[in-house]
């Protein structure tokens, strides 16, 4: 299957946007999952609902909210512009932000599921062995959550690759800057007889996600199924 140079550019941009989005949002997703799984504060349910927002609302609405917030005159956009001289509007960074936000709920849920399965007795054991809360988190909790983080990252990456509505609404459809695969597919759909291009680009998207899947399986295997499987999530005996 041959792609034109311009199409390769689209693929590279998509991979960049999705990759940056997932890597950037992973720590945030983890922090949110942590708060939802372990926190016992008031407003937990509200936070949970907010995290789900990007799923519940049509992407176009999310894109529009981003546009309003990040416009030069908007609350966040204005601040970013004044303090850092940066704008996300019509930029690939904005596309990454949109992708990250759309992927966030999926990642939070997956990580939270793993986090809730971590046996607190193992964390206690780490504490008696001289590890403070932070070391316990890094050396016990985090690795035991690896399956959820990996699942979340794969899910989020796939979701980012397919993100369309929020992206086109927020950062428009600018070739070379914000035209990711779904936007290119949309463009092809607008042209009579564009179906062949649609198929070609769709296959590329699928191949990209397949690569991510293979990578994640490889990572999972390398960790030797830290998973809870076998290890029992707990302790031997």
């Amino acid at each position: 299957m041959l792609l034109s140079a311009q199409e390769w550019g689209v693929v590279a941009l998509s991979a960049k946007v999705s990759g940056v989005a997932i890597l950037g949002v992973l720590p945030i997703a983890f922090a949110l999952a942590w708060a939802l799984a372990r926190g016992r504060f008031r407003g937990r349910l509200v936070l949970d609902a907010v995290v789900h927002l990007p799923l519940v609302l049509p992407p176009v609405v999310i894109g529009w909210m981003l546009l309003v917030a990040f416009a030069p005159a908007g609350p966040v956009g204005g601040w970013l512009w004044r303090t850092l001289g940066v704008t996300l509007l019509f930029r690939w960074t904005g596309a990454a932000l949109a992708a990250a936000i759309m992927a966030l709920p999926l990642m939070v849920r997956a990580i939270r599921l793993s986090l809730e399965a971590v046996d607190p007795r193992l964390e206690q054991a780490a504490r008696t062995l001289g590890a403070g809360p932070w070391a316990t988190f890094r050396q016990v909790t985090l690795p035991l959550c690896a399956p959820g983080m990996l699942a979340g990252a794969v899910l989020g990456f796939a979701r980012s690759l397919g993100e369309f509505g929020a992206t086109i609404t927020f950062v428009s459809n600018i070739p070379g800057e914000t035209q990711t695969l779904p936007l290119a597919i949309y463009a092809a759909l607008q042209v009579p007889g564009g179906e062949a291009t649609v198929w070609r680009l769709a296959v590329v998207a699928v191949v990209l996600s397949l690569l991510a899947l293979v990578g994640s399986e490889w990572l999972a295997r390398r960790q030797g199924g830290v998973g809870l499987q076998g290890g029992g999530g707990a302790h031997v005996l």
């Binding site: 504490r127 001289g130 030797g224 830290v226």
Partner: protein, 206 residues
Amino acid sequence: MSFDIDIVLARGGREFAVRVAGGPGITALVGPSGQGKTSTLDAVAGLLRPRSGRIAVDGAVLFDAAGGIDLPPQVRAAGYVFQDLRLFPHLSVRDNLLFGWRHAPAERRTLTLEEVTGFLDITPLLGRRPHTLSGGEAQRVAIGRALLSAPRFLLMDEPLTALDPARREGVIALIARIRDAFALPVLLVSHQQQDVARLADAVVEI
């Protein structure tokens, strides 16, 4: 007095008043199932906050409800062999053994990995994951992990149950040696009267 414990514990809606005044050496904690032995060890390790009272080991106050003292577990430096072992499933046996060792200050490290694995006969297991161990193998790894963590005192919750007679002897000798060589106070929970008789310098009924 090595262990100076006078606390009230609450667990599962019940309250347990526990009083231990152990002499130097090994203090055995005995008593019927479900009477709060494990809970007491948890309290000494800093994993369960007593309702009230005071816990001191070797003169150092770890907990004092009245004085508002409650040291976090990582500072207490208990070498705790859990009744349910709690090996880390994501780490190899070697990394399990060295987990506490790596967190210990260098000057307090008195034993080496080689010594401990040799004594406990677990050297061939170093590369394995915990879920592949037999019951007795896992128990010895748990003991080794506690010993290597450069503890200030040992809490051992039925540490010999899965060991065959020969290895039981070995571990008993090892515990006695450690007590003597490093003057380490040991709080031992055991249901085996002969183990208690052989090891304990003092016995506390709960």
